[in-house]
């Protein structure tokens, strides 16, 4: 019994952390005034770069060192990828929704094409781009309680520790307050000497780094990942969590629990007698987090508490 509860808990906590870290990243970007629609793309690209690293890393490198290398690669990959969004949306004042969508498609397409090239398996059916990394599954998922089916990914503890750190950065540091001011009223922020574009660049790159960590956690939960699915829609859910959490770190952490709860339900329901006896299609459970998300957004969106300048490129001449 304890084993089942712990195993459910490990699922739940893992999903919570994937959503939390990505949503916290999205919050940095949105607080600075840029819509974080490309979270899914950044997650995919971070996961892709880490996955490729795991694939090509020789086995004789000690475990802790290879774990660090993989984490760094995920962060750098996603950070660089998010720069594409920053350059287009800040320097060239492009439409943020359009560019975000483009980056989401691009990352999945790039991952599929390049993985096929790296793994050199032409006999794979079209669209199949799986990567296996059993060794890293063992490195990242540790067995704390001695049960065979319960494994905790140690990245989730890093991510939980990030929540208070992000809270501190946003509310107590100079950078956090400047970030918020650039999203609320960039003109007056500029008038007191804050470099709006620089702050926004930092916000987007931070969001990329966080999303990269989220993507890495997501793919290391299992021993393989199908990259044709991108990040499995987690980036979009994370964006919804940002809005539902009203752009506040602690609310985001709590909001992630709700969505992860329903996501976990879709994974574990066959093993719960009561639910599997209801005879409801598995697709219904897969649908649930999104339905709940829509209903929650319905009740939380009326009073618009988001950053005032969200989605508007900063134009100095309009001050």
């Amino acid at each position: 019994m304890i084993e089942i509860i712990l195993s459910v808990f490990s699922f739940l906590l893992a999903y919570v952390c994937v959503l939390t870290v990505t949503a916290l990243g999205g919050m940095f970007s949105e607080k600075s005034g840029t819509i974080a629609l490309s979270l899914e793309g950044c997650m995919t690209f971070g996961a892709f770069s880490a996955g490729v690293m795991m694939h090509i890393l020789p086995a004789n490198i000690p475990d802790p060192l290879s774990a660090i290398i993989v984490i760094v690669v995920a962060l750098v990959g996603a950070g660089l990828y998010s720069l594409l969004l920053a350059v287009a949306c800040i320097t060239f004042k492009a439409n943020q929704t359009l560019v975000g969508t483009a980056l989401n498609i691009l990352s999945t397409a790039l991952a599929v094409v390049l993985i096929k090239q790296i793994t050199q398996t032409p006999e794979l059916p079209v669209g199949n781009s799986r990567l296996n990394f059993m060794r890293f599954y063992e490195i990242f998922n540790l067995d704390f309680f001695g049960f065979e089916s319960v494994k905790f990914n140690w990245l989730i503890f890093i991510i939980i520790a990030l929540v208070p750190i992000v809270y501190f950065i946003i509310y107590k540091t100079r950078y956090g307050l400047r970030l918020s001011s650039c999203g609320e009223n960039p003109s007056s922020a500029d008038s007191v000497g804050i470099n709006v574009n620089k702050t926004r660049y930092a916000g987007i790159v931070l969001s990329g780094l966080f999303a990269g960590l989220g993507g890495l956690l997501l793919i290391t939960l299992g021993a393989e990942w199908e990259f044709a699915n991108g990040a499995g829609g987690f980036g979009f859910l994370a964006l919804a969590v940002v809005i539902f959490g009203q752009w506040k770190p602690l609310y985001i952490f709590l909001g992630a629990f709700i969505f992860s709860g329903f996501k976990t339900l879709s994974v574990i329901y066959p093993s719960i007698d009561f639910l599997s006896n209801l005879g409801i299609s598995s697709y219904f459970y897969l649908m649930l987090p999104y339905v709940v998300c829509l209903i929650v957004l319905m009740f939380t969106s009326r009073k618009n508490v988001g950053p005032k300048a969200l989605g508007v490129p900063y134009d100095k001449s309009k001050r």
């Binding site: 060239f92 969508t101 483009a102 691009l106 699915n229 964006l239 809005i243 697709y283 649908m287 969106s301």
Partner: protein
């Protein structure tokens, strides 16, 4: 020499010419980026692969094959045109229809059940699918109008809900689900003969390719209707005004809520129409996937590459389908067909820079004018 210069500067002042130039620029850069990626993958075959992508049906030496594949490319262009019109209508009203994939999926559910399950005539299936998709799109519109929910987020959520609805409803119903191929039965293959869009003799023009038919005529009519809607009618004008400044339009007596609902309904119906054009010519059907159909996102690139103009969309859609079809031909040489996705993604990315490119052209114009003025001043001084 001077005449040519005058001609060019007058051309540059023309707004639609500017749009064409920027779109061509985006397409060209997208292709170059795709070529660079091909070079990375396989330097030996890259040039050949690129000519295949660009040539598409032209690579066949046989005339009949060429016509056949040209017809196929045209038949696949029609749904994309409908899709990009769907994006365009919403965009004119200031909304971003990222939920087009979901509306398309809902239409597919209706087409499959009515066309194969109930064996209804094609026009009835088409109307039902468009109505269902319009209603699905209006969920997003109503959430925006009444609850201020961001339509991008709700659209994305509805995409996933529609995806699981389609997977759940179609796979469990064995009268429409071909379990052996893990896809729904294709209309007109073994069942649903009545649901096929009639070919009206157009197939004979394309070496007997039966996928070409009335759909091509219908899509041109729809393009014309949308063009007239925004150019000549009150509704179109109101939609446009709401898009430019919703509150001001509301103040001027144009009901903002009504306009949002109308525009989402129209764009939903168009996304549904895209599904009809794709499925009701016996071409393809729903197969089990785990991500929303990509056509909704490709529609965005076609709409923006077409300069957000109903006529321009025809050409941009054709270009994208041409490249995508060409991309599907290079799989035999060890390349992934997703190369075409990369090219389209880069094109969407670059269409974001349109504003910047237009600014550069504008700066060039200003410079020209400044030069002209200073030249005349110099001349005067000499006199």
């Amino acid at each position: 020499m001077n005449k040519i210069k005058v001609f060019f500067s007058s051309l540059l002042k023309n707004e639609s010419f500017k749009t064409v130039i920027t779109s061509l620029w985006c397409a060209l850069l997208g292709l170059i980026a795709g070529f660079i990626i091909l070079l990375f993958i396989n330097i030996k075959d890259a040039t050949f692969a690129m000519t295949t992508v660009l040539g598409n049906f032209m690579i066949f030496s046989n005339g009949a094959d060429r016509l056949n594949y040209f017809g196929q490319t045209l038949a696949k262009t029609a749904p994309l045109i409908a899709m990009s019109l769907s994006i365009l209508v919403c965009y004119k009203t200031g909304l971003f229809n990222l939920g087009a994939s979901g509306q398309y999926t809902i239409a597919i559910i209706v087409i499959t059940f009515l066309g194969i399950g109930a064996d209804m005539p094609w026009w009835l299936v088409m109307i039902a699918a468009m109505v269902a998709a319009a209603l699905w799109a209006m969920i997003s519109g109503a959430l925006k109008a009444y609850f201020n929910v961001n339509e991008v987020i709700s659209g994305i959520m509805l995409n996933w809900i529609a995806l699981y609805l389609a997977n759940g409803l179609l796979t469990t119903n064995l009268s429409v689900w071909d379990a052996a191929h893990s896809e729904a039965y294709i209309i007109g293959r073994e069942s649903g003969m009545n649901a096929l869009i009639p070919s009206i003799g157009l197939d004979k023009l394309f070496a007997g390719n039966a996928v070409v038919g009335l759909g091509l005529v219908l899509i041109l009519v729809v393009v014309l209707v949308i063009y007239i809607l925004f150019k000549k009618t009150t509704i179109g004008y109101e939609l446009n005004a709401t898009g430019l400044n919703g509150d001001a339009a509301d103040y001027a007596g144009m009901n903002k809520i009504k306009n949002i609902l109308i525009s989402t309904a129209i764009s939903g119906a168009l996304a549904g129409f895209a599904a009809c054009l794709n499925l009701q010519n016996g071409f393809t059907s729903w197969n089990l996937t785990s991500t929303p159909p990509e056509i909704g996102f490709i529609g965005i690139s076609a709409a923006f590459l077409g300069g957000l103009h109903p006529i321009g969309v025809i050409f941009s859609s054709y270009f994208i389908v041409h490249v995508t079809e060409g991309g599907s031909m290079i799989t035999d040489f060890g390349f992934s067909p997703q190369i075409a996705s990369i090219v389209t993604a880069i094109i969407i990315y670059l269409s974001g820079f349109v504003f910047f490119i237009k600014q550069v052209i504008h700066k060039y114009e200003l410079k020209e004018e400044f030069n002209k003025i200073s030249r005349t001043k110099k001349r005067r001084r000499k006199v």
